[in-house]
Amino acid sequence: MNYGDYVKNVAERMNLPQTETKRLIKQSFETIVEALDAGEKFTIPGLGTFGTKTREQHKAYSPFYEKFMLLPRKRIVTYYPSSTMKDKLNEGEK
């Protein structure tokens, strides 16, 4: 499912016009990314925990070059789904 469908469905649930919903969602994402950029870690209820961590420079084996490589320092986004999310997603499987 893509962004457009997502916005449409959320707008239906919220009883708001799609343009307004799109604006709100966009701003929310912007705020989330800003917080991530600032290095904050936060939990969004029903969705999960977002955060960043720094992966230091390290050696790793590249199967492509069949050699070891020196990978640079990098910041990565971490996401842990909330337990409600996990439970709801696995509801039908059991």
Partner: protein, 311 residues
């Protein structure tokens, strides 16, 4: 965790930025979570532009060991949710690391100068393919435009060209005329006083035939009033007559030109151009009429001058 921000702070900020009430944002968050869940359940993957992609990954049932008690347990089959941030997000949070590069290490552990990052290899393959598709699409679009609208465009272009040929917009027409007036009074014998009368006319042409304009200017010049006979000076009537004759010739030329333009316009079949050309012809004819008038005036002036001379 000290650096953990509460969601409350975050959504207050969102509410402030969007200008909506916190209740709306709270509801929005709730619905966003529910919708994400629903869509993941339906498709297994949801891409939210500006944030990232959520994926569902199915894990089969497997055996595991409880690390606390050491006993073997069975981990049931379940969905694992993975999240990959958008490229824009990754770039943004890695601003300070963007100049760092990947090195290949040789056997002794030294850095090799060449830095072809392994991750770039698959990346370049997709864009090439995509570029080809894009180019084909663009070609198709251009072709479609050519077949449908370009005919109309061409007609318009031809029309414009014709119009330009007939009526080039001349911004300034400057006529400089020097009339040398010799004083005939022989009081001072030494040097005849020479006066220079310079008539400068600036005519801004908006939409008139240039030939007609040119014809007008000499016609005005030919009239004898503008040289100022107050100083007892006499205009050379021959010069005026010659000027008028030249102007007439020019006007006739203009008529011929305009007629030629009309024929061309008729050939091209553009109504607008034909109209313009006909207008130009009429203007040129008017110019000729004026010319004849000016001629008459000039002759009159010459006669008057001869009379003066006689006196």
């Amino acid at each position: 965790m000290s650096d953990k921000t509460k969601f409350g702070d975050l959504f207050e900020k969102i509410a402030k930025d969007t200008g909506s009430s916190p209740e709306v944002i709270r509801e929005l968050k709730k619905q966003m979570g529910i919708e994400l869940r629903e869509s993941l359940k339906k498709d297994g993957s949801t891409h939210l532009s500006g944030l990232g992609t959520f994926h569902l990954k199915w894990s089969e049932e497997r055996e595991g060991i409880n690390p606390q008690t050491g006993e073997t347990i069975e981990i049931p089959a379940h969905n694992h949710i993975s999240f990959r941030p958008d490229a824009s997000v990754r770039r943004r949070i890695n601003k300070e690391n963007e100049n760092l590069k990947t090195f290949i290490l040789d056997d002794s552990g030294n850095k090799e100068p060449e830095v072809p990052a392994a991750s770039e290899e698959p990346k370049t393959k997709t864009p090439v393919w995509m570029w080809v598709v894009l180019a084909l699409l663009a070609l198709g679009l251009i072709f479609a435009l050519l077949t449908t609208r370009e005919v109309v465009r061409e007609v318009i272009v031809i029309e414009e060209v014709v119009v330009i040929e007939e009526v080039p917009v001349i911004e300034e027409v400057v006529v400089i005329e020097e009339v040398v007036v010799t004083n005939e009074v022989v009081v001072i014998e030494a040097v005849p006083v020479i006066e220079e009368v310079v008539v400068i006319e600036e005519i801004v042409v908006a939409d008139e035939a240039p030939a007609a304009q040119e014809a007008k200017a000499p016609a005005q010049a030919a009239t004898p009033d503008n040289t100022g006979t107050a100083g007892g000076a006499k205009i050379d009537p021959d010069i005026a007559a010659a000027e008028a004759g030249m102007a007439e010739g020019e006007a006739e030329l203009a008529v011929a030109k305009a007629k030629a333009a009309t024929e061309k316009a008729e050939q091209s079949g553009s109504e607008r151009a034909v109209k313009k050309a006909q207008e130009a012809v009429e203007e040129a004819k008017e110019a000729i009429a004026k010319e004849i008038e000016a001629d008459k005036k000039a002759e009159d002036a010459a006669a008057a001058a001869k009379l003066q001379e006689g006196n």
